[in-house]
């Protein structure tokens, strides 16, 4: 990769590594979960329970993936 491009991308790589870390599936699940919550809420369906349930489930999945590595 060109050095200037590498310097431009470096802050984004840092942010990705810092926020998302080594398991991108958790971030993907959170985004999908929030999108579903938005749709449920727009249709006046109670949605607050979804994200806590998702967070607990994804922690279990992530722990399992971590063990597999």
């Amino acid at each position: 990769m060109d050095r200037p491009l590498s310097w431009i991308l470096a802050p984004f790589r840092f942010l990705y590594h810092f926020i998302v870390g080594d398991d991108w599936t958790v971030a993907a699940a959170v985004f999908i979960g929030l999108a579903i919550c938005g749709v449920l809420n727009a249709n006046h369906i109670i949605a607050w329970w979804l994200i806590p349930l998702l967070a607990i489930a994804m922690t279990g999945v992530s722990l399992r993936r971590h063990r597999a590595r």
Binding site: I19, D23, V26, L34, A47, W48, I51, A55, T59, S62
Partner: protein, 243 residues
């Protein structure tokens, strides 16, 4: 939408910043002790200068964003980041309990005896402060903006660096014995709690009990951590027994 209270903001940003400050202070004190203090202090001050500019720019930029969309974005980021620390905290506490940070991750540096500025010491201190400090800056600005309490969030973050820095200078080895993994689990639980609450509030979802739901989420996630730690320990013990 009301502001989150000052005390939860101070506690969360103080603890979160303390986790990162332990590594920062370990690097700075290690470099200062081995290569001399003058260049190390100048490198540290330069690093804090960069961080102050970053926090000022990010803080001013986020103040211009309406609180609803801001809470959705900040809440989602804190939730993703918080879940990462939540999992790491569970794994580390299950494996090492309340142990401090390991001795093998300390920056190594050869002794400096020459005159003038030691640029190696300057760079090591600068790099340690900027890299660890950027993480503190992200947490402080994101949490402060989400809670609509940027001032207390900055006080919490700076306070943690001063306290951990003071301990590091007075008692070098004590910093390395602070149970960082357990602190990381507590902060992961807090960030996951507030991230969940704010992201859904940003979407316009009504929480049962309004702000009291934060306490309910905190209890739920703390209980989840306790259960996963027990399961991880049982599994590790079971594997050792089989081996």
């Amino acid at each position: 939408m009301v502001s989150t209270g000052v005390v939860p903001v101070l506690i969360t940003t103080f603890l979160a910043s303390a986790v990162e400050a332990i590594e920062m202070v370990t690097i700075v004190v290690g470099v200062g002790a081995t290569r001399g203090w003058r260049s190390t202090i100048i490198g540290t001050a330069s690093g804090f200068g960069v961080l102050a500019v970053v926090i000022a720019i990010l803080g001013a930029a986020l103040k211009a964003v309406p609180i609803g969309p801001l809470r959705l974005v900040v809440g989602a980021l804190l939730l993703i980041f918080g879940l990462q620390w939540f999992r790491k905290g569970i794994v580390r506490v299950a494996a090492r309990g309340f142990a401090g940070i390991a001795g093998d991750d300390q920056e190594e540096a050869a002794e400096w005896t020459g005159p003038g500025m030691d640029w190696t010491a300057w760079f090591l201190a600068f790099k340690g402060v900027v890299l660890e400090g950027l993480e503190v800056a992200f947490i402080v600005v994101a949490f402060g903006a989400g809670a609509n309490q940027l001032g207390p969030a900055i006080i919490g973050g700076v306070g943690a660096i001063i306290v951990i820095g003071g301990i590091g200078l007075a008692l070098h080895q004590t910093v390395r014995r602070i149970p960082r993994s357990f602190l990381q689990l507590i902060v992961g639980t807090l960030l996951t709690t507030f991230g969940t609450f704010w992201s859904l509030e940003g979407l316009g979802v009504d929480w049962p009990g309004s702000d009291a739901a934060i306490l309910g989420l905190l209890i739920l996630y703390a209980a989840t951590a306790a259960i996963y730690i027990t399961l991880e320990r049982r599994r590790a013990f079971g594997l050792r027994a089989v081996a």
